[in-house]
Structures are given as structure tokens and as C-alpha cells.
């Protein structure tokens, strides 16, 4: 009999030693005193909630689910999971129409990209913004990401045949952002994989990873989508690569911990493209040849969920390989948006206060552009600073000499 199996619950709240390090690193606690902080909201509150569910505190809705508490915890307590599980189990407030709209990225994305020429300019007009602010509660300061007129999967279908010729294959979980907003990122990814000698497939069925549904309390829908995704990933039978740190964390960690979906047989095959590519190069199984005519200064911002994955080393190491890049890793601070959180008018000010340290550190370094693996961090930084933000994969695609890379890997 081991010590753990005798004493510790599955969400290990008993392992908390009450040191409050999590609260010291919580970006919400630092600016919003209505939030009780991760120690109180997580392991402390859990003891009470187990006793009586009415001890549940609605202020737990202020949690960003950034997981910085888990990264900081010296005792390995899954503080963020405890808080999110409590919200799922005990929260009484039902998701509003706004929350449902923000959460249903597939539904809104499908409509919006179909009518992109109308939707994009309309969402930018003052009357529509004010209407959304007052009626829906979507903050009028927010700029909605532009919807792309053509979807990534439409482009892919036109190039499907050439992908099948490659003897080595990977599958791509493109996510909602690449599909509806930034197909160019998906195309960059396919081009890089092709140059390295890999063909790219799509999953049989892909749904939104579910992060926005989990955050907005639409748990049954999130679980339904997650089951479809995991089943498709199982059928893919090859590495499933992503270009979004949040989709990756959700499918690897939130599926089992929050939605109760066993992904243990495929968890290791779900990974960010930057990790897969770095590992190939590190093992000497692939070569990247870089152009020598581009010189840029780039600041790398570590998204919260990238910190939780512990994977910032992969994009940073890859970008450092490019001789024309001067790269600085910014101090780790939350950008404040946390997916749909910062879009809600009640959170807008907190969201911007949280991000201020990050915005200041970017301005101090004054790079040509910012690199980050998360689309919502990109929206937040582009809205709050004058800097352009790109996914490391798109930066790599600019830095790589495709012809020479293809030759080196054939």
C-alpha cells in the first residue's frame, strides 16, 4: 500500500500545503479582489464543497483557467482543474445567449466565413459594437478577428491528392482559428511538412477542441465534440499535429481531467507541430535550411497554456536555428484575454490590467514582430499594442528556404 493510494483523492487537493504560492502568481488575484484566489477557490474550497455543495462560491467564474497556479505549485496540485471541475459540478448560473455564441466557434465560424465580406466590416462599425455591448455584453473595445472568406479545408481539398503521394504522413488538427480566420497558417504548416517529406491528412471528423464550451459551462456539448475528436484521432493512426497551444492542452489534459474522457492511448500522439519538427531535427532525422536574406527581431510570448504544457522550448529552439532572427523570450506574463473571457464586457478592464505588464515588456524590447502559439493571445496583443503577432510556424515558413529544405530531406 503506498502513501498516495491511502490518502489522496484523484484531484489531489489533499497535497496542498497551504503555502499560497499559487495565489502569489495568479494574474486575476493581482487585479481583482473579488476573486478569492486559487488556493481558496481550489484546494481550500474543495474541502468545504465536499462537505456541503452550497459552499460553492460563484466568484469562481473569475478564474481565467490560465493554469499558472499549477505551473507555480511546488506540490503538484492540479489547482486549476479543481476550480474548473467545481464550476462544472456546482455552478448555478446558466450560460447566456452571449456565452453560447462566444462558445460555439463552429456555428459562428461557419456562418461568418460564408458571409465574411458582410460580417467583417459590420462587426467593426460603431453601432453594431454598441449594440453588442449593451444587448449581448460583448465589450465594444474588442475587435473581432476577421473571418476568412475561404476556409482552410476548401484549400486543402484542392491539394489533397498531392498530399497522399508522400510515404510518411501526419494528421493535422487545424482548429477553428485556422479554418475560419487564418487559413494561411494551415497552408504554411502543410508547406513546411511537405518540405520535410511528410504528407498532411485531415481527421475524418474534426470539431472545435471545446475550450470555449468548457469555459462557458456548455459541458455536454464539449464532451460530445471531444468524443468525436478523440475517436477521429484514434482512427488517424499517425501523429496528430496542431498549431494552437490551447487546442493541444485541451485535448491532452482537459479531456481526461475535466470531461472524464480517457485519451491515454492517443495522448502522446497529439502534439504541437513545433515540437514534432524540433524532435525530427534534434534526432537528425530532418534538416531545415534557412534563407540568409531576411533579418528580423522577434519577441516570443509564452501563452499560459504553453507554460502549462512546458513546451515553449520547442518554438524558441526552432526560431533560434534561423540565422537571420534575433529572438528574445519575454518574461512570462498572462496577456489577459484567456479565450472568450476578455470579450465579455464585465471582464474587459481586468483583462487589460492583467495584460499591461506583457504589453510594457513588448514595447520596451520594440521588436519587428511578436511570435506566439495562441490565437487569442495574438488578438489581445494586436488590439492592445501596435505590434504584429504571428504563429512561430508562419515565421518559420518565411525564414525557410523551401527548395533547399526539400532537397536536404529527400
Amino acid at each position: 500500500m503506498t502513501y498516495k493510494s491511502d490518502n489522496i483523492s484523484p484531484n489531489n487537493f489533499e497535497e496542498c500545503i497551504k503555502c499560497t504560492i499559487c495565489t502569489a502568481y495568479c494574474p486575476v488575484s493581482a487585479v481583482n479582489p473579488s476573486y478569492p484566489g486559487p488556493k481558496q477557490a481550489g484546494p481550500d474550497g474543495e474541502r468545504y464543497r465536499l462537505k456541503k455543495p452550497s459552499f460553492y462560491d460563484e466568484a469562481l467564474k473569475y478564474c481565467l483557467n490560465c493554469k499558472r497556479c499549477e505551473v507555480a505549485c511546488p506540490s503538484g496540485v492540479r489547482v486549476g482543474d479543481i476550480i474548473q471541475s467545481a464550476r462544472i459540478r456546482y455552478a448555478k448560473s446558466k450560460p447566456s445567449l452571449r456565452d453560447r455564441l462566444l462558445a460555439d466557434t463552429d456555428f459562428v465560424g461557419t456562418l461568418s466565413s460564408a458571409f465574411a465580406p458582410i460580417v467583417n466590416p459590420t462587426l467593426r462599425t460603431r453601432p453594431v459594437k454598441m449594440l453588442m455591448h449593451s444587448v449581448l455584453g460583448v465589450d465594444s473595445h474588442r475587435q473581432f478577428p476577421a473571418y476568412s472568406r475561404s476556409r482552410f479545408t476548401s484549400w486543402y481539398r484542392r491539394h489533397k491528392q498531392e498530399q497522399e503521394k508522400y510515404p510518411r504522413q501526419v494528421a493535422y488538427f487545424h482548429g477553428c482559428y485556422v479554418e475560419y480566420n487564418n487559413p494561411a497558417l494551415g497552408i504554411d504548416f502543410v508547406k513546411i511538412m511537405n518540405a520535410l517529406g511528410f504528407g498532411v491528412r485531415l481527421l475524418d471528423k474534426e470539431r472545435c477542441c471545446g475550450v470555449a464550451k468548457i469555459a462557458n459551462g456548455l459541458i455536454d456539448k464539449a464532451r460530445h465534440d471531444a468524443e468525436i475528436n478523440i475517436e477521429s484521432i484514434r482512427r488517424a493512426g499517425c501523429p496528430v499535429l496542431t498549431t494552437s497551444s490551447t487546442c493541444t492542452l485541451t485535448m491532452r489534459e482537459e479531456y481526461p481531467h475535466l470531461l472524464g474522457i480517457d485519451n491515454s492511448d492517443v495522448r502522446e500522439s497529439i502534439q504541437l507541430a513545433v515540437r514534432f519538427i524540433f524532435s525530427l531535427v534534434d534526432r537528425g532525422e530532418a534538416t531545415l535550411v534557412f534563407r540568409d536574406d531576411i533579418h528580423e527581431t522577434i519577441a516570443y510570448h509564452t501563452p499560459c497554456h504553453m507554460s502549462r504544457l512546458g513546451w515553449a522550448i520547442y518554438p524558441v529552439s526552432l526560431l533560434k536555428m534561423a540565422p537571420g532572427l534575433t529572438l528574445r523570450v519575454l518574461p512570462q506574463n498572462c496577456c489577459g484575454i484567456a479565450g472568450t473571457y476578455g470579450f465579455k464586457k464585465e471582464n474587459y478592464n481586468v483583462s487589460q490590467q492583467i495584460g499591461q505588464q506583457l504589453f510594457d515588456s513588448i514595447a520596451e524590447f520594440n521588436p519587428d514582430s511578436v511570435a506566439t502559439d495562441c490565437e487569442t493571445c495574438k488578438w489581445q496583443i494586436e488590439m492592445s499594442t501596435p505590434y504584429k503577432v504571428e504563429n512561430p510556424i508562419s515565421i518559420l515558413a518565411r525564414m525557410i528556404d523551401f527548395e533547399k529544405t526539400r532537397l536536404a530531406n529527400s
Binding site: 495565489t23 479582489p33 478569492p36 507555480a72 505549485c73 507554460s307 512546458g310 513546451w311 522550448i313
Partner: protein, 421 residues
């Protein structure tokens, strides 16, 4: 991923070793499972505070010579200790941390409970006593923050009243008042986050008014003013009209947390990789007993390879050592342990007496190499509190052992590194 040296543990010991190695040109990675015990530091560090009978030590450098050969300081040797000690303050200053103190003459720090303990170095601005209870002559004003629950002015007054007349007052500020919404979470670090900019000026004006009212000659306030982002701690001391001294609070320690952040940022700025929130899951050791690589929870099948490895994973609180029902063990490599055979001998009945588990740890040779089943591991070193040989609590030596073993090991590694080039 290939490094010259991988360090397991990112607290003070791991960071001192990492910074020393990185500064000499090595490629270094530090794996840290969560934030370190430095967050519980009082703002002061001790080298050797008590002798074996529990008496206070005045000159730690002299007292080191009387330690048993199994003590980490004895393994380093008095001469090497003295040479390294001369560099410690400069080492921290280069990283951006100003420390005051003298390795030949301990000063005293005050604990949040109002006890006095011998100390070697204290953060600039923290209360340093030349003898117990003597900070300054005259009246001392103890200023607390209204609603702050982790500082007890009455204990401080009680500790000082044999020497000084003390007045206790409270101050507040609208920005601090806001924090009282979550009274249970009104912690030192949350307060320090709002004491910047104009708040510093306002608080200084309030304290100056209290100085006039009470006729105080010196001021003590809880260490809730930060040292990051423009040094508001120094600015406040400059604005207050009488000498202002910070006294430690209950954890989290603002000073300790800022030391951790400053050291980590410095380590990264000179090229080190710091893997925060990751845990070593396994190690690969070849037939010759050399560590080849380690694997971590987050990096999965990406190995971290290195020529040398340093285990600076801390003691029980940091999970560098584990105590099970049966035994004390080191969880990563399964290293040989020096600890009492019988569980009953781990603790004493008297809670204030020495407990043997405190000096238990990884057994090492004179170069701090640990062993596995009696066989030394030649490219692995154990630094800081994971290693056996001293009781940091009884003898007041935790920070000194962490810093000096790390410096010593880094120097050993660099000897062969330079030789290779």
C-alpha cells in the same frame, strides 16, 4: 536536447550553480517542479548561526573549522570556503540583488514572531540588529497595513521593549483598502503589487506624519514593498524622513519571491533554459554508472542529455526527499540515503529539540558525488538540502549550504569543462 549541465531543482542552490556555469560559457538547463522554497525565505540568509550546543556564533568562518568532517562545509574545506565567501555578495549584485552582511561577523534578524536569529546576509533595507533587540536608539514606530493578517506588531514590540519605547500605528490607502474584499487573501505579495508609483509617495507622506506625531527615531514596517519594477522598496526608504527597516512577514515572502524571480530572469538573460513546472520522471544511467539523460513529464520522449547533472531538488518540502511509511528515499535516481534505520528515530518527542530526519539526505563523497547501491555516480552531484550532513534548522545554515555547495560543484564541473576546450 543536449546541454553541458542539467540541474534538477530551480531554487537558490540550482540557480547559483546554473548562473555560475552559464557565466562561464556552459549551456545549462534547469528543471524545476513548481516554485521553490525561496518563497518562504525571511529576506535573510544564514551561514552558520548556532554551534553544536545551540549557542549563537559570532564568526561563522572560524566556527566552520570545528565542524565534523561529514558536514558539507568540511567537505568543501575552510580555505575554499573563505575564497568563495568573499565573492558571494558580488555574485548576487551581478544578478541584481543587493545583500548586506559579513561572513566574519553574524548580525541578527528578527522573525515574524519576534525572535532573534543569527544571520549572515540580509536583503538591503531589511532590519539588521547588531545584537538582539538593538536596532537603533530612541523611539521606534512600528507601522502595519490595516487589515493585513500576516504581520504581528505586538510581537515585534514585545521583542524590542527591553531596549526601545515602541509605538504601533496602522496605515492604509484606497488601493490597498480594495484588497480587503478578499480578507483571507490579503497576502504580502498582493499588497506589494499595489505599492508602486503614487501609492509609494502617499504612504511615505502618511509615515512621515506618524513620525512627527510619535517623535520616532526609526520605523519598522512589514516587508510588503517589492523590489521588482523600479525598486519601490528603496524609493519608500528614501522618502521616509527617519531610517525605515523592513521586517519579515509570514510567507509568502515578498523578498524571497523577488530574489527567485530576479535570479531566474538573470539566468535566462545569460542564456540558460529554465523549465518551470516540470518534473523529472526518469533517468537513464549507462553500464559505467554515468547519467546519460533524464526524461520529464512535460517533455515526454524528448530526452535532456548532458555531460554533468546536479541534483539540487531540495529537502522534504520540495520533494527532493520523500518519507514513506518505511523509509526516506530520493525519488529520481534512487540514490543511497543517510538516515536513521528505524522510523521511530526520525523524530524526537520534544518538538523544539533536534530531529534526526532534518539531517537525513543523499549520502555523498567529499566531491558531493552521490552513489547508487554503493557505487559512486561520477557525473552527478548533490547540492543544497537534498544532501545529508547537517541540520539546517538547528545550526541555522540552510542558505549557506545551498549557495556554497552549488558554487563548489559548479567550480568542479568547470575545471574539466575548461580542460576539454
Amino acid at each position: 536536447m543536449k546541454y553541458d549541465t542539467i540541474i534538477i531543482g530551480g531554487g537558490i542552490s540550482g540557480l547559483v550553480a546554473g548562473i555560475t556555469l552559464c557565466s562561464a560559457g556552459q549551456k545549462v538547463g534547469i528543471v524545476s517542479s513548481g516554485q521553490s522554497a525561496l518563497h518562504f525565505n525571511s529576506g535573510s540568509m544564514e551561514l552558520l548561526g548556532h554551534d553544536s550546543r545551540g549557542n549563537d556564533i559570532d564568526d561563522p568562518c572560524e566556527a566552520i573549522k570545528n565542524l565534523p568532517p561529514s558536514h558539507p562545509y568540511s567537505k568543501i574545506g575552510a580555505a575554499t570556503m573563505e575564497a568563495m565567501l568573499a565573492d558571494v555578495k558580488d555574485f548576487f549584485a551581478r544578478a541584481g540583488i543587493r545583500l548586506c552582511g559579513d561572513e566574519h561577523h553574524n548580525h541578527y534578524r528578527i522573525t515574524p514572531m519576534g525572535a532573534f536569529r543569527p544571520a549572515w546576509l540580509s536583503l538591503d533595507g531589511y532590519a539588521m540588529f547588531d545584537r538582539p533587540a538593538h536596532l537603533a536608539d530612541g523611539t521606534i514606530l512600528i507601522v502595519n497595513i490595516k487589515g493585513f493578517i500576516d504581520f504581528y506588531p505586538e510581537f515585534i514590540r514585545h521583542a524590542l521593549e527591553s531596549t526601545n519605547y515602541c509605538e504601533i500605528r496602522e496605515i492604509s490607502h484606497p488601493k490597498i483598502e480594495r484588497l480587503r474584499k478578499s480578507a483571507s487573501e490579503m497576502r504580502p505579495t498582493n499588497i506589494s503589487a499595489v505599492i508602486t508609483g503614487d501609492v509609494v509617495k502617499d504612504i511615505a507622506a502618511d509615515i512621515n506624519m506618524l513620525i512627527e506625531q510619535t517623535g520616532a527615531d526609526a520605523v519598522i514596517m512589514p516587508a510588503v514593498v517589492g523590489s521588482l519594477n523600479g525598486h519601490p522598496d528603496a524609493e519608500l526608504r528614501q522618502r521616509v524622513n527617519k531610517p525605515l527597516h523592513y521586517a519579515p512577514t509570514m510567507p509568502i515572502s515578498v523578498g524571497g519571491m523577488h530574489m527567485q524571480i530576479t535570479l531566474r530572469q538573470y539566468f535566462r538573460s545569460i542564456g540558460g533554459d529554465y523549465f518551470l513546472g516540470d518534473t523529472v520522471s526518469s533517468a537513464v544511467i549507462d553500464d559505467n554508472g554515468h547519467v546519460c539523460s533524464i526524461f520529464t513529464d512535460n517533455l515526454g520522449d524528448t530526452p535532456l542529455e548532458a555531460d554533468d547533472f546536479i541534483l539540487a531538488s531540495g529537502s522534504f518540502i520540495s520533494h527532493g526527499l520523500l518519507a514513506t511509511y518505511e523509509k526516506i528515499c530520493e525519488p529520481i535516481f534512487g540514490l543511497d540515503i543517510e538516515a536513521p534505520e528505524n522510523r521511530a528515530d526520525w523524530c524526537s518527542a520534544d518538538i523544539y529539540a533536534a530531529h534526526q530526519y532534518m539531517s537525513a539526505g543523499v549520502a555523498t563523497d567529499n566531491m558531493f558525488h552521490p552513489s547508487i547501491q554503493g557505487r559512486p555516480v561520477r557525473n552527478l552531484f548533490a547540492a543544497g538540502s537534498v544532501a545529508s550532513g547537517c541540520d539546517p534548522l538547528q545550526e541555522q545554515s540552510g542558505a549557506g549550504v545551498a549557495i556554497l555547495t552549488a558554487m563548489f560543484i559548479a567550480r568542479e564541473i568547470l575545471k574539466s569543462y575548461r580542460h576539454d576546450i
